[in-house]
């Protein structure tokens, strides 16, 4: 502006508008800018009431801008916190998922083991029942043979008794034969009584022998 304004050109300024044109000596048109004095700035040219409103609006907008920036910072921080937590939850979910998979695998393994154990228990129970049955029937056999042995023992005793009775019968009859051969030497009444006693003995022995024979056939 100083290049286009001649020195001491203040008297050439046009009152209004602040710019104008003049002819220089070489007849060239030159634009003359009028220097702006105090109280003539663009703001100064805005009416005061408008200026106050613009100040209020600017202040409000500035405050809103600051608040918006603060709010954005806050939101950014909140968002970051949520992202952190999502990452944490994601990691926890993966951990729980892995643990769940491991537990499920363990459950399957334990179920298989339980199935095997149940099968083994059923087999063991069946075997116990079979052995108990075998044991019971062995006990029956033992008792049967105990009874059989007792019976054989009784039969042997009975046979021995019958044999002894028959033997006494035979001996008595042999003695009776001797007595009869020498009957003159004995009292006939005593001889008859001996013979009767011998007959009862032999009858008893025969009866015992019959009973014995019957017992043998049972």
């Amino acid at each position: 502006m100083s290049d286009s304004t001649p020195p001491g050109g203040a008297g050439l300024q046009s009152p209004s508008p602040s710019t104008g044109s003049i002819r220089n000596p070489s007849n060239e048109e030159t634009t003359v800018l009028t220097p702006v004095g105090t109280g003539t700035s663009p703001i100064d040219r805005i009416p005061l009431s408008h200026r106050k409103r613009w100040i209020v609006v600017t202040t409000l907008l500035s405050m809103l801008l600051v608040a918006a920036i603060a709010f954005i910072v806050y939101l950014w921080d909140v968002s970051r916190a949520w992202e952190d937590q999502v990452a944490q939850l994601d990691a926890t979910s993966h951990d729980l998922g892995e643990r769940l998979a491991a537990e499920q695998s363990e459950v399957v393994r334990l179920q298989q083991q339980l199935d095997i154990t149940t099968e083994q228990l059923a087999t063991a129970q069946k075997r116990i029942t079979e052995l108990a049955d075998l044991n019971a029937r062995t006990g029956d056999d033992v008792q049967y043979y105990v009874q059989e042995i007792n019976r054989q023992r009784e039969l042997a005793t009975m046979g021995s008794t019958v044999a002894a009775a028959l033997n006494r019968c035979v001996e008595g009859q042999q003695q009776l034969v001797v007595y009869i051969r020498n009957a003159a030497n004995y009292d006939p009444a005593e001889l008859a009584e001996y013979e009767a006693t011998l007959k009862r003995l032999c009858d008893s022995a025969v009866a015992a022998n019959v009973t014995f024979q019957q017992a043998l056939t049972q």
Partner: protein, 266 residues
Amino acid sequence: MTTMARPVTTALERAVASAALAGTLALTGCGVVPTYPEPLITDYVPTAVAAPQIDRGSLSPDGFSAAQRMTVRVRNIGCSGLTTGTGFAVDPYTLVTNRHVVQASRQIEVTTYDGRTISITTAAVTTVADLAIVTSEEPMSAWSTLAADDPVEGDSITVVGYPRGRQLTTVTGMVIGTTPDPLGASSGPVYATTAPVEPGSSGSPALNEAGEVVGVIYAKNDAEQSFMIPVSTLRTLLDEEGLLQPQPTECPTTPGGFAPERIVVD
């Protein structure tokens, strides 16, 4: 120009102020401003209130049911041979069986589900029903619970016993109804059932669905029906000892004795 600019500016101010106010109210007053997340919990696995309890039910550690453990095989070492039947415990030392199972006995033994043999010290029979009460030397591992009431027609029953003196067996059937005792051994009515039994099952407990004794098996017929003495008769017998009389264990002396029968099942 000035008078026209003033309303525009005022409207702009109002719009900005209204927007600011509305934004502030909308964001704060309505609660849509996102907040920081709550701190995460550290353990997502719930703590068990109590350790899980395993219901053993009526199973013993060896897997046999109470009904199997309380049921015994009765061996009657008689004067003329061996007979077998079934019995069951009503308390640790008292067992119930049929009178005809322990008749003419010189010695009585019982064997348990796991093969143990236990001697019987005393036996008592009654004339009011085909029932006998015997006392064991050793305690039983399980005993029965007597049902409060007799069964009714249509009730399901389970019979546990030693048919033909063989393995412990469990069969099921249904109560047909009451009938006079076909053998004339009981003074009161007995129950006919569809449970399949065999000789050797005499004295088997008949259990209801709750596992309680509702009767004692004692006979069968050709129509494959079984007969049981109701639990009410058994209760009467257990409550009134006067109805019981000792079972003699002496055998008549016979020259040479009797040849023992191999095995007879009652």
